[in-house]
């Protein structure tokens, strides 16, 4: 808005990010060595491991189905990313998914003409939940942990009320096609699930969004909300939008899951923690300010691959939560150690040279934001 308020931020951002220096291979290599990049290496390692124990997994038709069924969790992880990178948590995700699933089942039922109104209704509910979470966190100053826990419980109660805790009828098949069907007779792949297309669209959108002024401000807000506020960002609105994006992602995941599996109040259970695990595994720092959105999606794939690997090894699925717990603790410990090491003075010896860089447009992002 005003160049005066954005100048402190501008001068900081005006210096080159080390990650944007050098040639493309150099940048890729450096990127791969960050927590956000390492997850892609992990992904590759896990993929090789899974194909090792079960070669048919690597066949394109099976692989694309795996991607299709992992799409909901990857989309949820990207949604959770916005909130985490802004320095908050969204625990209501699983409950939002369950609510949307149940609404789809109850409202659409066998009535095909209700598919579009239902999708609109679900999106509106998604936005509404996001606004409640966002405003509760920012305006009411309630920690997001508590606000989203509250919405989680409230929505959980609603689901229980609507279903009595048991499965109800599935919505009409045309609606379920979104999560279940795909484009048939695709060469090599056999079938291209719609969920993969939606995943790619969401990923591309997220990638673009994080490079937009909003994305830059979001990261700045997560890193230091006070500084971002002084720089002119409307912190409450930035964070609220992060929560809205999170609930909307949960809604999309819900739509896909109804199609994939059908209506059951337990659909979506534990998704918030799976999403958080995926985000953490993707090297995104809890507390905000650092991390890549696509790494969060990669984290989701890594997690699902790990579960598949364990499954192929005939490990009881009851161990999953244990694995997830260990991953969260270790990944957070590792990245926290990494960042705190980085704050030691010696790192001053390698300041970025004020080289010309394509990111000099960064200051403009704040202005565009306000």
């Amino acid at each position: 808005m005003s160049t005066a308020t954005s100048s402190p931020e501008a001068s900081a951002a005006g210096r080159t990010l080390p990650l944007t220096e050098g040639s493309l291979p150099q940048r890729l290599l450096r990127g791969a060595l960050t927590p956000g990049g390492a997850v892609f290496i992990l992904l590759a390692v896990l993929f090789i491991a899974v194909v090792w124990v079960n070669p048919s997994f690597g066949e394109p038709p099976q692989l694309i189905r795996f991607i299709g069924r992992t799409a909901p969790i990857a989309i949820a992880a990207m949604g959770q990313y916005y909130v985490i990178v802004a320095g908050e948590f969204d625990l209501s995700m699983g409950a939002v998914i369950a609510t949307q699933v149940v609404i789809a089942g109850n409202y659409i039922g066998d009535d095909e003409s209700r598919v579009l109104p239902a999708i609109a209704l679900m999106l509106v509910i998604g936005v509404a939940v996001g606004i409640v979470n966002g405003l509760g966190t920012t305006i009411l100053q309630v920690p997001s942990f508590i606000v989203t826990l509250g919405t989680m419980l409230a929505l959980g109660g609603l689901v229980k009320y609507l279903t009595g805790g048991a499965a109800t009828g599935n919505p009409v098949d045309t609606f379920r096609e979104i999560g279940r069907g795909g484009i048939q007779d695709v060469p090599v792949l056999d079938v291209l699930p719609y969920s993969v297309i939606i995943l790619v669209a969401v990923a591309a959108g997220s990638f673009w969004l994080m490079r937009s002024p909003f994305g830059r401000t979001l990261i700045a807000t997560g890193d230091n909300p006070d500084a971002a506020g002084l720089a002119g960002a409307k912190v409450w609105w930035v964070k609220t939008r992060a929560f809205i994006l999170s609930s909307l992602s949960a809604t999309i995941a819900g739509i896909l899951l109804v199609g994939y599996a059908g209506v059951h109040p337990s659909v979506g259970a534990g998704y918030e923690f799976q999403a958080i695990t995926a985000v953490v595994l993707g090297g995104v720092v809890l507390g905000g300010g650092r991390g890549w959105v696509l790494s969060a999606a990669a984290g989701a794939f890594a997690l699902e691959l790990l579960f598949s690997f364990l499954n192929f090894q005939e490990v009881e699925s009851t161990w999953r939560n244990t694995v997830q717990g260990v991953i969260i603790i270790l990944a957070v410990a590792a990245s926290a150690r990494a960042w705190s090491l980085g704050r030691r003075p010696p790192s001053r010896s390698t300041p970025a040279a004020p080289a010309p860089s394509p990111t000099t447009a960064r200051p403009g992002t704040e202005t565009g934001e306000n």
Partner: protein, 417 residues
């Protein structure tokens, strides 16, 4: 400030993070091997392992005497009219209830484990319609119900509340779990009022009557025999189980597992929590590993998701046992797969109140009231589908409430009371 952080420590960061992956992966391996041995009863792949370690797991739920008893009961003669199966029982010890003979209406108190699955919901609706009937007859004034929401502690508190403050003339208890509820049921018995236990059991025989269908082993035997008859030796069966630790469910699997092992069927079992997403993933992963010829379920909830997984994978339909839930019956007919619908007689939800009617009339009731439990075969399927036309997917074909008030609308609308 934060930009600097990126540089030097990156290597450290990534090394640590990869270390994380390494450690987390290596923690998996021991996990893998330990669970491979102590849960090996599940996979039945290594016979030695399952004899050593697996038997510990099995002993908990497999009981040869009960198994044999239920094996026999499947072909037993039931007293009473087959038209009213909810009043039939196997001849045996009777409880004298002349002391309980009552004049006028009595208050019943019902401690319910939960209504968190379609089977319990259907039964709960039927029970409420049965209650209306008995209220009209002037047998029962009211039934106060407390729903424990699947929680042992809540149910213990519920029962204690009934004992101390409920002003109850009789107790109906549908236990949430077997061992945990035993003491509370005994406390209810100590009040000297009639206690009716139904569905899941408890480890005491103090109740006036314990009502249940033949039981989990009978389910396991019926289903496993069906799969064995329709499969070849060495075929693979994926067993989908709802949750561990509930006797009626554990016995279903214990019975089936024994027969699978004896007949060379390779069976792998999973807990699904009835979550269709889980079910579909499990089946898809199993199909990815190799062919699956059979699917066994300890409850029909989620059967449709299991069948859809085969459709979506492009695999042949399995031989499958589900349950008499409408979803499965309809999907079974639609797909034409080879299947069987075992029944855990839902009409048993009528029996506790009818038992109270007898008890308050001073008529004797069976000490252990064993209700009939007969699977629905492919030949009978059409009849049950027709009889339950218009019923929602979560409805159970053998709900046994056709002669009650409100039939069929109450069940069709499925308003949970």
């Amino acid at each position: 400030m934060r930009h600097k952080i990126h540089r030097a420590p990156m290597a450290v960061a990534s090394a640590l993070l990869l270390g994380v992956f390494a450690t987390s992966c290596s923690t998996e391996d021991p996990t893998d091997s330990t669970s491979g041995t102590d849960e090996s009863s599940e996979t039945s792949e290594s016979p030695e392992a399952s004899e050593e370690e697996g038997s510990g797991d099995e002993q908990e739920w497999f009981d040869q005497a009960v198994y044999d008893e239920q094996y026999e009961q499947r072909s037993a003669t039931f007293e009473g009219d087959p038209e009213t199966p909810y009043l039939q029982y196997i001849d045996g010890e009777m409880t004298d209830t002349s002391d309980y003979k009552a004049n006028g209406e009595m208050k019943a108190c019902f401690a319910n484990a939960s209504i968190s699955n379609p089977w319990r919901q259907t039964g709960w609706i039927t029970m409420n319609q049965q209650l209306k009937d008995l209220q009209d007859k002037g047998v029962i004034s009211e039934m106060e119900t407390r729903d424990a929401g699947d929680d042992d502690n809540t149910q213990i508190a519920d029962i204690d509340y009934f004992i101390s403050e409920g002003d109850c003339d009789a107790f109906i208890i549908s236990p949430n779990s077997t061992a945990a509820m035993t003491d509370a049921v005994e406390r209810a018995c100590e009040t000297g009022k009639p206690v009716v236990v139904f569905d899941r059991g408890v480890e005491t025989d103090c109740a006036t009557t314990f009502i249940h269908p033949i039981g989990g082993f009978a389910w396991g035997i019926d289903t496993a025999e069906f799969l064995i008859d329709n499969l070849e030796e060495g075929d693979k069966v994926v067993a989908l189980r709802i949750l561990p630790g509930v006797d009626v469910l554990e016995q279903r699997w214990a019975g089936a597992e024994k027969l699978f092992e004896e007949n060379g069927i390779e069976a792998v079992d999973y807990f699904t929590g009835a979550d269709p997403t889980e079910i579909k993933k499990i089946i898809t992963d199993e199909l990815g590993k190799g062919e699956v010829q059979g699917v066994w379920m300890d409850a029909g909830d989620g059967a449709a998701a299991a069948i859809e997984a085969f459709e979506d994978f492009g695999a042949d339909y399995p031989v499958m046992t589900g349950e008499d839930e409408m979803t499965f019956l309809r999907k079974w007919e639609e797909t034409g797969l080879t299947g069987l619908a075992p029944v855990y007689s839902n009409f048993q939800w009528r029996t506790p109140l009818l038992a109270l009617e007898k008890i308050f009339a001073g008529e004797e009731v069976p000490k252990e009231w064993v209700l009939p439990q007969t699977p629905i075969t492919e030949d009978e399927r059409a009849d049950y589908l027709e009889a339950n036309d218009g019923m929602p997917d979560g409805h159970y074909a053998k709900f046994g409430g056709e002669d009650l008030v409100g039939y069929p609308e109450v069940w069709q609308e499925r308003e949970i009371p």
